[in-house]
Structure formats: structure tokens, C-alpha cells
């Protein structure tokens, strides 16, 4: 543990990693809370995985993968949003198809890129230790955008996730806000891919919010606590993985998962007692 603290105080890459975790936790706490209460984890998972297509294409074109990820996340968020609004009966099938299709596109493009596979693991599992100061600016900018939108339309998003039918009857343009919300999910996914990679995004997006939801009585508190938990999980994962030289992404996710299970058991057991 003292080695880890030494590394954080002396190594720029460790400072970037910690700071990246904190910035990512903001988006993940705020947007993740909406995802959990609106119960669209599967749809968010579809967005996260289909992003592989965009990253693969960007990689093939020799562009930064994050650019491809951003474009693909926005495009797939809008497609999936449209599907879930217009094709409710087949929603899960269509999400599954786009989920796998996006990944397949990404793998094909990566396979056609000379010297592939080197970075494949970092697409899939992320690498918080590789976060540069440029990445931090990206992530910080996306955070600010997400917070701004949520501040402006907090009550519409609350109404939409709480009671969509009632929101519609009060004259809220529900479809437009739903698509705007999915854009926020897409941006958050892009941020989190830097931290834990696209396979594990969905866990980091939902678990801090889900744990937080066990204890709080309002959506805004849920977001706050989820953000704190996100910081705890990412920093904890970094600390635990440092000494034995484990990949930090999976370590972060396992910590989050363990917290969630314990919290679930405690709250269930507490209610029965």
C-alpha cells in the first residue's frame, strides 16, 4: 500500500489515473443513476459494445480510437433509442443484434489493420494507467457537458425516468428527452471505456448507482453517493492492483461487484430482520 502511495505522489501516470477515475466517476454517478432507475442497463450495454465498431474503424483509418468511439456511441445511441421507441415488441432482439453487429464490425476492421491485436486488449478492457493529460481534458469536457444538460433539464429527466406516461400528459416532449438522455449515456460510455474498456463499462455504469440506490431517498442524493462510490471503486482498484501488477480495469469491476453483492445482502437481510 505504501508503494502505491509513493507511486501516486511521484508518478505522473498514477496521478492521471487517479484523476481520470475521479472525473469518470462524476459522469458515471450522474448518468448511471438514471440508467438504473429507468432500468435501461441492457440498452446502455448495447451502446457500449457496439462502440467497438467505431473504435475498429478509427483504428483502421489510423485515427485515435476515442474519436471513433465517440461517433459510434452517438450514432448507436440514436439508432437504439429510435428502436426502443418505435419497435417495442422486438426491442431486446434488435438491441442484441446491434450489440453483436457493432462488435463484429470492429473486430473485422481491426483484423485488417497491420499489426493488430496489440491494442485489442486495451479496447476491450481499457487501461486507466495509460490515460494522458489530453484524455483528462476530453473526459473533463464531457463531464461539464453532461452536468450542464442535467442541470438544465433535471426535472424533465426525473419525470421521464419516474413516470413517462405522466410526463407525456404534462406536455413534456418525451421522445426528444429520451434521445437526449441516450446521448448522455453514449458520452458516459465513451468516458468509461478509457477506464475499464468496453466489455466492463456496463458494470461501472450501473454498480455504483445501484449500491447508492440501496441507501438514498432521492435521485440527486443517489447521483452524489454513486459518484463518491465510483471514486472509491476506481481508486481502490488502482491501489489493490498496483502491488501484484494486476490489470486495474477488472480489479475495479470486481471491487464494485463485491460491494454491490454485500450491499444487496445487507439491505435484504436488514429488511427481513
Amino acid at each position: 500500500m505504501s508503494n502505491f502511495i509513493d507511486a501516486v505522489s511521484s508518478q505522473a501516470f498514477m496521478q492521471n489515473a487517479i484523476f481520470g477515475g475521479i472525473l469518470a466517476s462524476v459522469a458515471c454517478g450522474v448518468v448511471g443513476s438514471y440508467v438504473v432507475v429507468k432500468r435501461i442497463g441492457y440498452l446502455a450495454g448495447g451502446i457500449a459494445h457496439s462502440v467497438m465498431g467505431g473504435m475498429g474503424i478509427a483504428y483502421y483509418l489510423d485515427r485515435p480510437p476515442i474519436e471513433g468511439a465517440l461517433v459510434a456511441a452517438l450514432v448507436f445511441a440514436l439508432i437504439l433509442g429510435w428502436v426502443s421507441l418505435k419497435m417495442q415488441q422486438q426491442e431486446d432482439t434488435v438491441i442484441g443484434a446491434l450489440w453483436a453487429g457493432g462488435m463484429a464490425v470492429g473486430i473485422l476492421f481491426i483484423s485488417q489493420t497491420p499489426g493488430y491485436s496489440a491494442d485489442l486488449m486495451s479496447f476491450l478492457f481499457g487501461n486507466i494507467l495509460m490515460i494522458s493529460s489530453d484524455d483528462l481534458i476530453w473526459i473533463g469536457g464531457l463531464d461539464i457537458f453532461i452536468l450542464l444538460i442535467v442541470f438544465l433539464f433535471y426535472k424533465q429527466f426525473l419525470a421521464l425516468s419516474f413516470d413517462e406516461e405522466f410526463a407525456r400528459l404534462r406536455g413534456i416532449p418525451v421522445e426528444r428527452f429520451y434521445l437526449l438522455f441516450l446521448i448522455l449515456v453514449a458520452l458516459t460510455v465513451v468516458i468509461l471505456i478509457q477506464i475499464v474498456g468496453l466489455i466492463l463499462v456496463i458494470a461501472l455504469l450501473t454498480l455504483p448507482a445501484a449500491v447508492s440506490g440501496h441507501y438514498v431517498r432521492s435521485l440527486s442524493l443517489m447521483m452524489g453517493l454513486a459518484t463518491v462510490l465510483g471514486v472509491l471503486f476506481t481508486s481502490g482498484g488502482l491501489a489493490l492492483s498496483y502491488q501484484p501488477d494486476l490489470p486495474p480495469g477488472p480489479t475495479i469491476i470486481l471491487i464494485a461487484g463485491a460491494f454491490y453483492l454485500v450491499s444487496l445482502l445487507v439491505t435484504r437481510f436488514g429488511k427481513k430482520a
Binding site: 438544465l152 433535471y154 424533465q156 413516470d163 405522466f166 410526463a167 431517498r217 443517489m222
Partner: protein, 248 residues
């Protein structure tokens, strides 16, 4: 047109593309009326309410709410749905739930303001849930939740309230409390309430609108004891008949 007419429907037909769900509906609801709407399941009650609120568009006929097309007047209608269409474990307290009713009346950007909070407080006070304001909705009893939903419908300061089976999941005592409350509200607000319990509510309402594809109105003065039984009985019979027809 009479200035006291709040909802005026003429010659209305509606279908979801197949057989007519509603046919030749005519009704003229006056200000401060208390209308009970009855009819078997699937008779088109909720469909008609959705047309009045501008969610569904009729195939034919005219609908005026407060003299305007429904989509322009929906902000003036307080609606309490038949089923709470939200999950009871959502992290939200009574006050924030009631505030949702202010949507459409409050500026679209930013948080709820002071006048929203005042309106919510008044609505909670009117339905006697003010002391529950900080409770999460998951901890409320069925009767308390119904009151909160009425407060949510009230908080937009509506001219019309539409309640779709407000007492479906509560016991007799709570049902009476809720209708006493509605009777009070009716001094200022026109109320339409969907119910199955026509015998019980006949002491509260002015007119009964019986819907089963078509609509027939009866003033409650014409309805006492046996006639109510017969009317509802004959409707039940019609449902039975319909089901047989559909199976073939």
C-alpha cells in the same frame, strides 16, 4: 356554444385501425359537474379519456376541451392514472412526486421554483398528505399513495380532473374518504371519475356516462337501487356476449 361547457364531444368515432372502439360519442360536460364513467373492461373508457387529453386522435367527430382542441388544453387537466405507472422503489419522496404535476406550468429550464413548491404544498395540504411530504413513496400505504397521486394531479391547478379508477386498490373506508375529498374539490373543479362501483358513488356524482363502444348518459336522479343494478347488470351481460363473438 355555452360558456359553461368544459368538454364537448360531437359525433366521435375511434378505432385502432380495426373495429370501432368508440362510435358516435356525444357528450357535453358542464363546469363543476361530477361525472361517473362506467363500463366493462375494454369498453373504451380509457380510450375516451386519452382522446380528451389529446394523446389519441379520433377518426371522426369533434372534441373541444375548454373551447380548444384537446392538445391545447391538456395542461389544464389534472390526471390520475388507473395504475401507478412507476416503480414503488424509485428513490423519490412525496413532495417531489407531487411537484411532477407542475411540469408544463413551470419554465422548462432549471429546477422547480418557489411558486411550484407553494402549489405542491397547497395540493398536499388539500389532500391531507402534507405531513408525509418527506416520506419515500415506497413506504406509503395504498390509500396514502392514492392521495399523493390526487395531489400530483391537483398541483397543476387544473380546471378539470380525470381520475381513472382512483379507488381500485383500496378498502371501503379509504374509498369513502377519497370520494369525500373529490366532492370537496368538485366545488371548484369539474371531475370525471372512472369506476366500477356505481352503486357506491351515485351519492357523489351528478351524471353517469355508461360506455360500451357507444355512450349513454343518465342523470343520477333517475338512478336508484334496482335501476342501477339492472343497468350495470345488462352491461355485464353485453361483455359476456362480446367475448363469445370474439372467440369465434
Amino acid at each position: 356554444m355555452s360558456t359553461n361547457s368544459v368538454i364537448k364531444i360531437k359525433n366521435l368515432d375511434f378505432s385502432f385501425g380495426g373495429p370501432k372502439i368508440l362510435e358516435n360519442i356525444e357528450i357535453d360536460i358542464q363546469r363543476n359537474e361530477f361525472i361517473g364513467m362506467v363500463g366493462p373492461n375494454g369498453s373504451g373508457k380509457t380510450t375516451l379519456l386519452k382522446i380528451i387529453m389529446g394523446v389519441l386522435i379520433p377518426d371522426k367527430g369533434s372534441v373541444k376541451v375548454l373551447g380548444n382542441p384537446p392538445s391545447q388544453s391538456v395542461q389544464e387537466i389534472g390526471y390520475m392514472p388507473q395504475f401507478a405507472s412507476f416503480s414503488r422503489d424509485f428513490p423519490i419522496n412525496v413532495e417531489d412526486t407531487v411537484l411532477m404535476g407542475r411540469l408544463g406550468k413551470t419554465p422548462s429550464i432549471g429546477f422547480f421554483n418557489k411558486s411550484d413548491k407553494r402549489a405542491a404544498e397547497k395540493a398536499m395540504n388539500d389532500v391531507e398528505v402534507l405531513d408525509l411530504r418527506k416520506r419515500v413513496i415506497g413506504s406509503l400505504s395504498g390509500g396514502q399513495l392514492q392521495r399523493v397521486l390526487i395531489a400530483r394531479a391537483l398541483t397543476c391547478e387544473p380546471q378539470i380532473m380525470i381520475l381513472d379508477e382512483p379507488t381500485a386498490n383500496v378498502d371501503m373506508k379509504v374509498e369513502k374518504d377519497i370520494f369525500d375529498l373529490l366532492k370537496q374539490l368538485n366545488e371548484k373543479i369539474t371531475i370525471i371519475v372512472v369506476t366500477h362501483d356505481i352503486g357506491f358513488i351515485s351519492q357523489y356524482i351528478h351524471r353517469v356516462a355508461c360506455i360500451n363502444r357507444t355512450l349513454t348518459c343518465h342523470p343520477t336522479s333517475e338512478l336508484t337501487g334496482e335501476t342501477i343494478e339492472n343497468m350495470y347488470g345488462s352491461h355485464m351481460h353485453m361483455v359476456h356476449h362480446h367475448h363469445e363473438g370474439e372467440k369465434k
